[in-house]
Symmetry: C2
Subunit: 175 residues, 2 copies
DNA sequence: ACGCGGATCGTTACACTGTAACAGGCAGGG
DNA sequence: CCCTGCCTGTTACAGTGTAACGATCCGCGT
């Protein structure tokens, strides 16, 4: 159930295509942790060990992780971490834009660029390799804002998730 | 936990704003059932009693219903309908575009306009009254298509769900 | 030092969401 | 009639998420 096939993408970065995640690994993780520490410092919040480790686990994995998966990875033979604790840590992390929740998968991914928590992202979820690519398009935001204004609707949070096949997986089709 | 406050909306229907659901009631229900019967006729599918009643229940309610809520409404003192049966009926109904699943709520709403199952809709979910408004914007679709093409991503299904406050609820704020 | 309040975390219990597997029922075709 | 395919009923179970309570830790004012 693992084998996440290193979906390379390629992203000729137009329109602030903010990913470039060959090997989601430790680099991004360190960035995220640093951002979290700065954020906690500035706002007087507590970036506790559990929260840091939760963030690290999510960031190391290159694809969406369920809360129970995270709990499992955080647990050690003598030291079990309950899912409920992970949920609380995830609440904190999502509130401050450090991780995103993928509603269509009940899973979580690290935020792959430094946008504030208020912005909206588009998630491209590959059905073949399971990778998630986070992009931002000002054009989409504009169209959405226009539609929302027409409907007299005041948005609080936006969920845009596209399922399909990523560029890398279209090459090795049916393989 | 009910009290769905009759969120009237109003929708000055620009950009194919396809709702107009003052009182989601029986009218829409009959339309949907008729559509389902035609569809089943044409494709040689079975629009069974369970599927029809499930569709009716979803259509009568003006807001997202969970599968277990539907099961409860379909059950009678001596005749219990299991949730798993409802899920199967919902699978059928969603596959053919008669109802939509709201991923962020794990709930289902009737399709409020006659688009084919392939199209993509934008769901406006009100946090105050719980109503869901389904709209379609060609502009948003174009922006999305452009972004997806740029990313080399081949979409299969699209989820666009905006949470916030609907026009009607903004009037009676905090009330 | 002491107590206090607030936030975090551990633990248990529970509700809700969704699927797998198997058996019975029902219609249509040979 | 039997066989086949689809739908449904039933049970069991896995996965997701929250409520509630207690313990702990930490900073703060006295």
């Amino acid at each position: 159930m693992d084998e996440h096939g290193t979906c390379g993408h390629h992203g000729h970065g137009q329109d602030s295509h903010a990913h470039g995640h060959e090997s989601h690994g430790p680099a991004r993780t360190a960035d995220l942790v640093a951002r979290a520490e700065r954020l906690a410092q500035d706002l007087g919040l507590q970036f506790t060990t559990l929260r840091r480790r939760t963030l690290e686990v999510v960031a190391e994995e290159g694809r969406p992780l369920g809360a129970y998966d995270i709990a499992e990875r955080l647990s050690a033979p003598g030291k079990r971490v309950a899912a409920v604790s992970v949920y609380r840590a995830l609440d904190f992390l999502t509130e401050h834009g450090l991780v995103h929740r993928i509603a269509s998968r009940n899973a979580f991914v690290p935020c792959e660029h430094g946008h504030g928590a208020g912005e909206s992202a588009v998630f491209l979820i590959c059905r073949s390799c399971g990778s998630v690519d986070e992009t931002i398009s000002a054009e989409i935001e504009r169209s959405l804002d226009r539609t929302l204004a027409q409907a007299g609707f005041k948005p609080a949070s936006r969920i845009v998730e596209i399922e399909g096949e990523c560029g890398a997986c279209q090459g090795r089709q049916g393989e």
